[in-house]
Amino acid sequence: MLEIEGASINYGPVSAVRNVSLTVEKGEIVALLGPNGAGKTSLLSAAMGLRPLAAGSIRFKGEDLRKLDTETRVRRGLTLTPEGRKVFANLTVLENLELGAATRKKGAEIHHDMEMCFELFPILAERRHQTGGSLSGGEQQMLAIARSLMSRPSLLMLDEPSLGLAPRIVQQIFRLIRDLRGRDLTILLVEQNAHEVLRFADRAYVLSTGECRYAGPASRLHDKDALMQAYIGELVA
């Protein structure tokens, strides 16, 4: 579904990602792991068109994305829940969800999806008239995911959904992500919380200092040593 080939990303003279290839197949949960500054967020930004690629290509459902702007990519079914949630703090929960459906026209369908989100995240239904800024961190993360779902994506990219959340909330969020797989959704998940994610991901990539250190089944990284090896060790071909 998503094919990134030989991607390189630069910030001015600093190279953030070098020659990284990554694919996500329909129905998969793929984990993108790696320490801080590995280039994970840069890669997702490039996939969304927020960052230009210095080299390489990105295809989505067979279509070359490089010519398309961010807004059009969303319309094609690609969506990103950004790092740090980025809910609109001055808008209510309902308004946040409404904006999430910005690419869609049919009011009845949008309303239906909103109800679905409220089923998925009952707490949001309770807080529907509160502003995004007044929610707790976990609730904000739920809102951010729900907002992404409102565009009816076929590929959902989540950037560190567990960032800054209490362990109990993290468990809840991860359970949700697993449930989403059942809803005809493909997921690319960026995380630092590797152990948790590897339990339910199908495949995993490990990025470190801008280079791909591991690409393969998630199960192979269940072993602690193998994971360490991938994080700090030699490049795995």
Partner: protein
């Protein structure tokens, strides 16, 4: 991503301070030599009209340099400088104009000013001192404000100064021209002052205070975290800039002999601001380039503006053409080269870059 942006911030050139100071001195010398040489050549060979043009351009250059000291280093758009130019000009006029002239120009001046007359040099010094003092007072307020609020305050200064000048008829002659100021300054002195202003601005930019101020303009929080007193630095730059601009005003009054409050309002403010932008407001060399480019260009347009005849076809007056071009140039520069012609670089950096490009063989030996 975060780590990367931090790394980018650290990328600032790791010049040793001594090397930087040497570079500054050389850069200042280049600017001084060029400004002096061009000025003196024009004085020697130019027609009276060209010499007058040069003198006005050099006074504008002093203003732009004064503007650069605050705006270029602190990165706050300043529109109030024309007000300080006015203050410099009017203070010098009030002190230097002969008592006999004052009986005609400002017979009812308060504080017994109509009976005071000092030499041009003393008047100049008093004027610059008073302007600097006002710069200090306004600066204490200004440095408390950030961004657009600070810009609004500089506009306020301009409007207030203009309002006072126009209303206080007894002292400033109001909207009428203030004439009879001794023409004590010739083009030579203006060139000298310009050279001094260039050197001051250049040394300030490279000084410890200048470097810290520029760093704080890019990242104020980081600068404060490192113990840099941003407000104090901004105040220093503001006061120094006001003093330099005040000098320009005083010189102008002593050169022209007649001043008019309307000449120190938005039009002048915008023209000099445009010069600063076009050359690149972060660079002192840019100030020089901007003044040179716009002076020549606007003078050429003015020929067309008055209505010319080309191949027997008479073109009508095109008042506003020079202003139009001024605006177009600003927008174009901002869209395509927002850092101005010099892109924030100084002359010695440009020369080094040129040498590298053309004389690679020599450098490598």
């Amino acid at each position: 991503m975060n780590t990367i942006s931090v790394a980018e911030g650290r990328r600032s050139p790791g010049l040793v301070l001594d090397a930087r100071l040497a570079g500054n001195a050389r850069g200042a010398l280049y600017l001084a030599v060029i400004a002096a040489a061009v000025g003196l050549l024009i004085m020697a060979f130019g027609s009276p009209f060209i010499v007058r043009l040069m003198a006005t351009a050099y006074i504008n250059l002093i203003v732009v340099v004064g503007l650069q000291i605050f705006m270029g280093n602190a990165n706050v758009v300043n529109i109030g400088h024309a007000g300080f130019m006015a203050l410099g000009a009017y203070f010098v006029a009030i002190f230097a104009t002969p008592v006999m002239m004052k009986a005609v120009v400002i017979p009812n001046a308060p504080f017994g000013m109509s009976g005071v007359e000092v030499g041009a040099l003393w008047a100049f010094l008093i004027s610059v001192a008073m302007t600097t003092l006002i710069g200090l007072i306004s600066g204490l307020v200004l440095v408390r404000l950030a961004g657009i609020a600070a810009t609004i305050l500089t506009i306020s200064i301009l409007v207030i100064v203009q309002g006072v000048l126009v209303t206080w008829t007894d002292l400033f002659r109001g909207a009428q021209a203030f004439f009879g100021i001794p023409k004590a300054v010739g083009p030579g002195l203006i060139i000298l002052a310009t050279v001094a202003a260039l050197v001051i601005a250049r040394m300030f930019k490279g000084s410890r205070a200048g470097v810290q101020l520029r760093a704080s303009a890019t990242d104020p929080l980081a600068a404060e975290a490192m113990g840099v007193d941003v407000k104090r630095l901004r105040l220093v730059a503001w006061v120094l800039g006001s003093a330099v601009v005040g000098c320009a005003g005083a010189l102008y009054a002593l050169y022209a002999g007649t001043i008019n409050a309307r000449a120190f309002y938005f039009h002048t403010a915008f023209l000099t601001l445009a010069m600063s932008i076009v050359g690149g407001m972060r660079s002192v060399t840019g100030a020089m380039v901007g003044v040179a480019l716009l002076t020549v260009l606007l003078e050429l347009i003015r020929i067309v503006e008055g209505g010319i005849t080309v191949f027997g076809i008479e073109f009508p007056d095109m008042l506003g053409l020079s202003g139009l071009m001024l605006g177009v140039i600003i927008v174009t520069v901002m869209c395509f080269r927002p850092d101005g012609f010099m892109g924030g670089h100084e002359i010695e950096e440009a020369i080094a870059a040129l040498r590298k490009r053309f004389g690679r063989g020599k450098d490598e030996s």
